[in-house]
């Protein structure tokens, strides 16, 4: 199983150069059953990464390009009168697939955003008063441009909270960049990527995550982290319980990916920025547009072994 994970990382790496950590975190997020928010400037490889992820995980994939005139029905599907059969029939929208790439989610109106977000949280959608289950597993990888860019509707905190992780891909380092430049001509196409994981593998992974345990001392550390965000005047609001659960779940998944059955503080520290950055807002940043990396503060200020 560990090989399969490594293969997946390698395969995705063929498409996204020099971003192993981000790839692993993205996989970690999907293994943990959470939704992923990729935030970066245009052209950083967000879409490529998500497509590659879908490919290696062998998931049914559909892409929705969010624009300012997108309507909820465009995502969820519509009921149309079928003249041949003389009745209304439901035409499922792109949301009915295992993995959805919601490209540039912050370019659409809040109304449409919430249509997707309901699906993310509940795993079901309601169309015309009828509730329809979404296929399982159901993942959303959303990409967005930094909120300071023109033509964006920033996601409210309540909706950001629903993403397990927010990743920034960042510029590639010079070596990766060189490699990228060299390979422009004979670049591996998406279709050439091998599927590394099956849905059965996913079940096994989930089971393994369930077997990872966190000791009291580790939970103490996690609680100290959470308490740090809630106390004092550094943050306008602290981590929600959902955020806390996300943190420990991600840490467990990370430990599982490292083939361990116990969580180490390193695991927590590794996933912490991705899990908490989008959930926290510094007091100084009242609009929430800066998106600073608060987690660094947590990592350096909170003691690991004791108060």
């Amino acid at each position: 199983m560990q090989n399969k994970i490594e293969n997946a990382v390698k395969e995705v790496g063929k498409m996204v150069f020099g971003k192993e950590k981000q790839i692993r975190l993205a996989l970690c997020c999907l293994f943990a059953g959470g939704h992923l928010l990729l935030e970066d400037k245009p052209g950083m490889g967000k879409t490529t990464l998500s497509q590659a992820l879908a490919r290696v995980m062998g998931l049914e994939f559909s892409r929705i390009q969010f624009t300012s005139d997108l309507l909820p029905a465009d995502i969820l599907g519509v009921t149309i009168y079928d003249q041949n059969q003389a009745k209304f029939s439901f035409h499922p929208g792109p949301v009915f697939s295992n993995l959805i790439l919601a490209d540039e989610i912050n370019r659409t109106t809040p109304k449409t955003q919430s249509a997707l977000l309901e699906a993310m949280e509940e795993g079901q959608v309601s169309v015309d008063g009828e509730t329809r289950k979404l296929p399982q597993p159901f993942f959303v990888i959303a990409t967005q441009n930094p909120t300071s860019f023109a033509g964006t509707y920033p996601l409210p905190e309540s909706q950001l909270d629903r993403f397990l992780m927010r990743l920034k891909i960042g510029y590639p380092d010079p070596e990766a960049e060189r490699e990228l430049l060299q390979s422009t001509e004979h670049r591996v196409s998406l279709d050439e990527l091998k599927q590394c994981l099956t849905s059965d593998d996913m079940k096994v992974l989930h089971e393994k995550i369930g077997n990872v345990h966190a000791t009291d001392s580790l939970l103490d550390y996690v609680q100290r982290l959470i308490a740090y965000t809630r106390q004092g005047d550094k943050f306008s609001f602290g981590l929600s319980p959902r955020g806390a659960i996300s943190l420990i779940r991600s840490a467990k998944t990370w430990a599982m990916m490292d083939d361990r059955s116990h969580v180490l503080p390193e695991d927590v520290q590794m996933v912490l920025p991705a899990v908490t950055d989008h959930r926290l807002r510094a007091v100084s940043d009242s609009s929430g547009r800066h998106g600073e990396e608060h987690s660094q503060r947590l990592l350096s200020e909170v003691d690991i072994v004791s108060d």
């Binding site: 009291d216 180490l264 503080p265 947590l298």
Partner: protein
């Protein structure tokens, strides 16, 4: 529907039984009530016990819903009936302690039937606390103290369970909590015991049954002392300062008997008024006349209550205690009747001359014998005196007569009639010490030698563990004192002539084979004197009992002052009170501190504690662990800085991660932690 009708039309039952005693609470209350009543049962009439039992059963039925609370009419009838029965039972003694406590108990039991409100329950619990302490009026022994502590544990559990929420109703948890609280209160209890000002009781408690006590009485007729031999009850315990005297010297004087009516000796006359103030006694001429000589013997006596006022002493004591006076006949009396255990210090001189200069007129009182009785003995005495020539020789001859003729020293002498001295000397010739003392004294008086009988105890048993001497009722004894020219009063023990073993080895040795010995003692450990183990056990138990009596029950103002004088130069009552209050405030302050204190840092994993020590050690070397540095990252950083320590640090870090993060829960083996401790210890050795 009118909404106001809802409140108006509330059914009556709901308002009445609005408070339901929690299940655990009721169980504890009933348990503690039974425990509280139990020791009092022996003093309660049987019907009262039945009433209490019925009340408890009734309360259970009410709880189960099989019975409803009794109405006001039933309750009134019950109370009146019980009060009437009480008056009928106790009569005029209805206000004595036994009956008041019985009334209290039955009142608590009846209260059970009307526990409607929480305050009722709390009242029952507080009354239980009160009643359980009442037991101390009758007994203050260690077993009772332990039992009462147990009762308090139960009552506290009941009180606590009353304020516990539903999910904490495990009764044993409550008991544990109660025990914990009691344990915590021990320091405060000790402090209050030691520091609290000791005040003499403001009122005395009248006990209805001044139970007939076993012991000496102020008169002596044949058979009286023999009756005591069946009892193993403790008379008193002595602790000598310095060396213990020989058994043959241990004549514990209690009562001097001067008057003889032919059969019975009694304290017939008093030469001086009995109660003289303590200050007045030194002025008396006869008191000045006592010549104290010989070795000084200091000792402390704790005597069991006698309900009389004589106290025990060796030879002629110098009375040092303000609470005692010495009478003209050298009997020492306490000013108050001794109705509680009484501890006092005595100083005796092993040699002294008493009343050496008495004139004949004064001596006349100790020569009186009733005329017309014991004539045969009188004649015998006069003849023997003529043969002897001197008083001393006469005494020796009488003792020789006891020794040479066939006299028996026995517990079961034949009964004597109207002229007991005659019958004893010439017919039965078997008797106990009082027979010998009585007839010897008679023979002395018959020829005009002043003589009298002294009763008390002889001997005793040394406890090898605390070196105290226990004197029991079976050590009771009687002997004579005769007045000789120039020598004053001299002790003569005719029993010693007949049965020297009695004096040298004690009555238990002489009589252990006789049926009468210890016949009243029941299953006493004293019966098993021949079993080494049981005898040893008995000695140990007696030692504990002695310490309890001496240091706990007899802890009084004197001992308190002695305790404080080891703290201060000058002890005053104010200082004691200030110290006591200071201590109480101090303990309250500690409690307040613990209650108000912020919750301390969470209890750490033992390994984490050790690991922090390891980090401290490294920090002193200049390698401070950053707050957010994981153990492995820390090691990784130091590995490059200090390669020499790399191996140990690697070991420690690995072990720490294994102990703290690898194993679920706290399932660490203590040995692992110990091993980890050793590793860190070794690393510290390396550092310095």
């Amino acid at each position: 529907m009118n909404i106001f009708n809802l409140t108006k039309g509330k059914p009556k039952e709901f308002t009445r039984s609005s408070y339901l005693v929690p299940r655990t609470s009721l169980a504890w209350i009933l348990c503690s009530l039974v425990a509280v009543i139990l020791p009092h049962v022996v003093r309660m009439p049987i019907w009262l016990v039945l009433v209490c039992a019925l009340c408890i059963i009734g309360r259970v039925l009410i709880f189960q819903g099989r019975m409803s609370y009794p109405g006001p009419i039933v309750k009134t009838i019950l109370v009146v009936l019980i009060l009437w029965l009480m008056v009928a039972q106790y009569g005029r003694d209805v206000f004595a302690t036994e009956s008041t406590v019985a009334i209290l108990i039955v009142a608590i039991s009846l209260k059970l039937l009307e526990m409607h409100k929480k305050s009722d329950v709390i009242m029952v619990i507080y009354l239980c606390y009160f009643t359980v302490i009442a037991e101390f009026i009758w007994s203050q022994s260690i077993p009772i103290a332990v039992y009462i502590l147990f009762c308090i544990l139960l009552i506290s559990a009941a009180l606590m369970s009353l304020s516990q929420t539903e999910e904490y109703q495990n009764p044993f948890r409550t008991l544990k909590l109660s025990a914990l609280i009691l344990l915590q209160s021990i320091p405060l209890m000790l402090a209050l015991f030691i520091l609290f000002p000791r005040i003499a009781p403001l009122w005395s408690v009248p006990l209805q049954s001044s139970t007939a006590r076993t012991g000496l009485s102020d008169s002596m007729s044949p058979g009286d002392i023999g009756n005591l031999i069946g009892s193993d009850e403790l008379a008193f315990r002595v602790k000598f300062n310095g060396e213990n005297p020989r058994p043959a010297e241990l004549y514990w004087r209690a009562i001097t008997l001067d008057s003889f009516n032919g059969r019975e000796w009694s304290r017939g006359f008093n030469i001086e008024p009995q109660f003289l103030g303590a200050g007045a006694r030194d002025d008396r001429a006869w008191f000045q006349d006592i010549e104290f000589q010989g070795d000084i013997l200091d000792y402390n006596i704790i005597m069991e209550p006698t309900d009389n006022n004589w106290v025990y002493s060796l030879k002629i004591p110098q009375v040092l205690d303000e609470r005692m006076i010495m009478r003209r006949d050298f009997q020492v009396d306490s000013i108050r009747n001794i109705s509680q255990r009484f501890s006092y210090d005595m100083r005796s001189y092993m040699n002294n001359r008493l009343d050496a200069s008495l004139n004949q007129r004064e001596l006349r009182q100790w020569r009186r014998i009733p005329s017309g009785s014991n004539e045969q003995s009188f004649e015998f005495a006069v003849n023997l005196r003529e043969e002897s020539g001197s008083d001393q020789a006469y005494i020796q001859n009488v003792l020789a007569y006891f020794r040479s003729e066939n006299f028996f020293y026995t517990l079961q002498p034949a009964l004597l009639g109207a002229n007991p001295v005659d019958e004893f000397l010439f017919n039965t010739r078997e008797g106990f010490c009082e027979h010998y003392a009585s007839s010897f004294t008679f023979l002395m008086r018959a020829v005009g030698i002043p003589a009298r009988v002294v009763t008390g105890y002889q001997g005793g048993e040394y406890n090898p563990y605390d070196d105290t001497l226990a004197v029991r009722q079976y050590d009771a004894h009687a002997w004579s004192e005769v007045w000789l020219q120039d020598q004053g009063w001299v002790r003569v023990d005719p029993t010693a002539a007949v049965a020297p073993d009695r004096i040298e080895r004690g009555s238990q040795f002489v009589f252990q084979l006789e049926d009468v010995f210890l016949q009243d003692a029941g299953l006493s450990l004293l019966r098993f004197r021949n079993s080494l183990f049981l005898n040893d056990l008995r000695y140990r138990l007696e030692m504990i009992d002695y310490s309890w009596n001496r240091f706990v029950l007899n802890y009084d103002q004197g001992m308190q002052f002695a305790f404080f004088s080891s703290l201060f130069k000058e002890v005053t009552r104010e200082k004691i009170i200030v110290t006591a209050l200071g201590f109480i405030f101090f303990s309250i302050a500690i409690m307040v501190f613990f209650v108000l204190r912020k919750p301390s840092r969470k209890e750490l994993h033992p390994a984490t504690d050790l690991y922090l020590g390891y980090c401290d050690g490294l920090a002193k070397q200049g390698f401070v662990r950053a707050r957010g540095e994981t153990p492995f990252a820390y090691f990784d950083r130091l590995r490059n800085l200090k390669p020499a320590w790399s191996k140990q640090m690697c070991d420690i870090t690995d072990k720490y991660i294994e102990l703290v993060y690898k194993r679920p829960g706290q399932l660490n083996h203590p040995d692992d932690v110990k091993e980890f401790k050793n590793k860190i210890h070794q690393f510290h050795m390396l550092l310095y």
